[in-house]
C-alpha cells in the first residue's frame, strides 16, 4: 500500500488482484482510496489471453471450431459453441435447414448452462457478502443442475454436444422424463434463492443501492445481459437474434429499473424461472428420433455473425468465410468485455469493502474476456 496525491488529496493506493479471494479469475484492479472511499480505479486484464481466435484461423478446420471455442470458458462453454456454430451455419448457408429437434436440444443445453451460471454467481455474491452458508446451499443446488446436464449430455460443464449442422446427441424419452422431474427440484431451488435475496434483510441492505447504473448510463456504456436488464434496458439476444424457438415459446425479457447490485442479482433469479420454462417448452416441442445432424458439404463462404445470449449477456461471433476449411477471421466479443468499461465509473464513491459484492454483481468472466 502506498500514499499518493490525487487532485490535492492524499490517497491510499490499494491493489486488488491479480489474485484475490473475491476474484475467481485473474484481473488486477488498482484503487486510489481516501478514507476507504474509492476515488480512482484502473484495471489490467492481460493475464489469460490464449490466442484462441488466432488458432481458429491457423490450426483448426471449421468443424472443430465449436469444440475449440467451448474451451474459452468453463461456465458458458455451450453459449460459445452455439454462437460459433450458428455463425458458421450462416456462413455456409444451411442455417435455414437446421431441424427443430436440433434447435430444441441446443436450447436445453444453453438454458441449463444459464441456470448453473446464475446459481454460481449468486452463490459467489452471497459469499463475498459474508454468507458462506448461502454460498454452499446455492452451490449444492448448482451441483444438481450439473448432474442433470451430465445425465443429458454426458458431461457436467463441457458438453461438446453442438456441432456444425446439428447436435451430437439426442435426448431419449426416458431421459426426457427424468429431466422433467429434475426441473421440479431445480424450480424449488430457484424459489429458495429468490427467498434469500428478497427476504434476508442483511443481504438486501448490503446490496440495495450499491453500484447504481441508470438506464441512460446503461445505454451509454453499452451494457449487456442481466446487468443491462437490471437497469431497465429491454434487450435479449434470444429474442433479437433467435437461432432457436425463443420467440415461438414467448420468452419474457426480465427487466428491473433499480439498476443496483440487488436488481442485477434478482434479474438472474427471475431469469432462472424463465429458463426452466424454456427447457420444458423445448422438451415438449419435438420428439426424439427426429433428424439431429445435417450433412455439411460446403465450407464457410461468406461473412456471417451471430449474437447469442450467454448467461452474462450478448456474445458476438463474426466469421469471415473464404471458401476454405479454415475461416479467414473469427472475432469473438464476450459479454464481460462489454460490461468492463462502466466498472471504474460505478466504483467511484463506493467504500472499498463494498467493491467485491459490486464487482461480483456484474458477473465478470476474465477467461472469456482474455480468450
Amino acid at each position: 500500500m502506498k500514499k499518493i496525491k490525487v487532485n490535492q488529496e492524499i490517497c491510499t493506493t490499494i491493489p486488488m488482484g491479480s489474485q484475490h479471494v473475491a476474484l475467481p479469475e485473474p484481473v488486477k484492479l488498482v484503487f486510489d482510496t481516501e478514507n476507504e472511499v474509492v476515488k480512482r480505479v484502473s484495471f489490467d486484464v492481460s493475464y489469460v489471453h490464449r490466442g484462441i481466435e488466432k488458432s481458429l484461423t491457423t490450426m483448426y478446420d471449421f468443424k472443430k471450431a465449436p469444440y475449440v471455442v467451448g474451451r474459452i470458458c468453463g461456465i458458458c462453454a455451450i453459449a460459445h459453441s452455439i454462437a460459433c456454430t450458428v455463425a458458421l451455419e450462416r456462413s455456409i448457408g444451411i442455417d435455414g435447414e437446421v431441424p427443430d429437434r436440433v434447435r430444441a436440444v441446443r436450447m436445453i443445453g444453453l438454458e441449463l448452462d444459464r441456470l448453473q451460471s446464475h446459481f454460481l454467481i449468486n452463490g459467489h455474491l452471497a459469499e463475498v457478502c459474508g454468507y458462506e452458508n448461502i454460498f454452499m446451499h446455492l452451490w449444492r443446488c448448482r451441483e444438481f443442475i450439473l448432474d442433470t446436464a451430465d445425465m443429458l449430455f454426458g458431461n457436467r460443464v463441457q458438453y461438446d454436444v453442438v456441432c456444425v449442422g446439428g447436435v451430437n446427441r439426442d435426448i431419449d424419452e426416458k431421459t426426457g422424463t427424468r429431466i422433467s422431474e429434475a426441473l421440479e427440484e431445480i424450480e424449488e431451488s430457484i424459489g429458495f434463492m429468490e427467498e434469500v435475496f428478497t427476504r434476508d434483510k442483511t443481504l438486501v441492505k448490503r446490496l440495495e443501492g450499491l453500484g447504481v447504473v441508470s438506464k441512460d448510463k446503461a445505454f451509454e456504456y453499452g451494457l449487456v445481459g442481466p446487468s443491462a436488464r437490471a437497469s431497465g434496458v429491454k434487450t435479449d439476444c434470444r429474442i433479437e437474434d433467435d437461432w432457436g424457438m425463443y420467440r415461438d415459446f414467448g420468452l419474457e425479457i426480465i427487466t428491473m429499473t433499480e439498476g443496483d447490485a440487488l436488481a442485477r442479482c434478482l434479474v438472474r433469479v427471475l431469469e432462472c424461472f424463465e429458463s426452466v420454462r424454456m427447457i420444458r417448452e423445448a422438451l415438449d416441442s419435438t420428439s426424439p428420433g427426429e433428424e439431429i445432424q445435417l450433412r455439411v458439404r460446403d465450407n464457410p463462404k461468406k461473412d456471417a455473425v451471430c449474437r447469442n445470449e450467454a448467461p452474462r449477456g450478448e456474445l458476438f461471433y463474426y466469421i469471415r468465410g473464404t471458401g476454405k476449411k479454415i475461416p479467414g477471421r473469427v472475432k469473438i466479443r464476450t459479454p464481460t468485455f462489454a460490461n468492463i468499461p462502466i466498472l471504474p465509473h460505478v466504483m467511484i464513491g463506493v467504500r472499498y469493502n463494498d467493491v467485491p459484492p459490486l464487482l461480483m454483481s456484474f458477473d465478470p468472466c476474465l477467461s472469456c474476456t482474455g480468450r
Partner: protein, 123 residues
C-alpha cells in the same frame, strides 16, 4: 455495411450511433491482401440489424479513437492495437497482452515476427 475512410469514419459513426437506439457491439480488425481493415460493429434495436462500418487502414497509419462518441469503445480499440499492432489514439500498451507476449500476434506470421524483431532491437 458502411464503407468509410480514415477522414470521414468518425462523422459516419456520429450520425449512426444514438445510444438508446443503436447498441455498440465492438471493434475488430482484419488483415487482407490489400492491407488492414478496422471494422466497427453496431446493432440497431429498431431494425434488429447488425451494421458494420469498415475503414481501410495502411500499416503504420494512426487511427483516431471513437471513444469520444462511443464511450465503451476504448477497450476494443486497445485490444486491436495489441493484437494487430494498429496505432490507435490514446491506447494503453499491453492492456490485453502480457509484456512478454509476441507483439501483434494476429498479423500474418512474417509481419508479426518482423515487428517483434524491430521492437526487440529498439529495446
Amino acid at each position: 455495411m458502411i464503407e468509410a475512410s480514415l477522414m470521414d469514419f468518425k462523422d459516419k459513426i456520429r450520425k449512426l450511433y444514438i445510444p438508446e437506439k443503436v447498441h455498440y457491439i465492438g471493434v475488430d480488425a482484419y488483415e487482407g491482401e490489400e492491407g488492414l481493415e478496422v471494422r466497427y460493429w453496431f446493432f440497431s434495436y429498431e431494425t434488429r440489424d447488425v451494421v458494420m462500418v469498415r475503414v481501410s487502414v495502411k500499416h503504420g497509419e494512426r487511427v483516431p479513437s471513437i471513444s469520444d462518441i462511443v464511450k465503451p469503445a476504448f477497450m476494443g480499440e486497445w485490444e486491436i492495437a495489441d493484437l494487430f499492432g494498429i496505432e490507435i489514439e490514446g491506447r494503453v500498451e499491453n492492456f490485453f497482452l502480457s509484456p512478454d507476449s509476441p507483439r501483434a500476434p494476429l498479423l500474418n506470421k512474417k509481419k508479426s515476427e518482423d515487428q517483434a524483431g524491430r521492437e526487440m532491437g529498439e529495446k
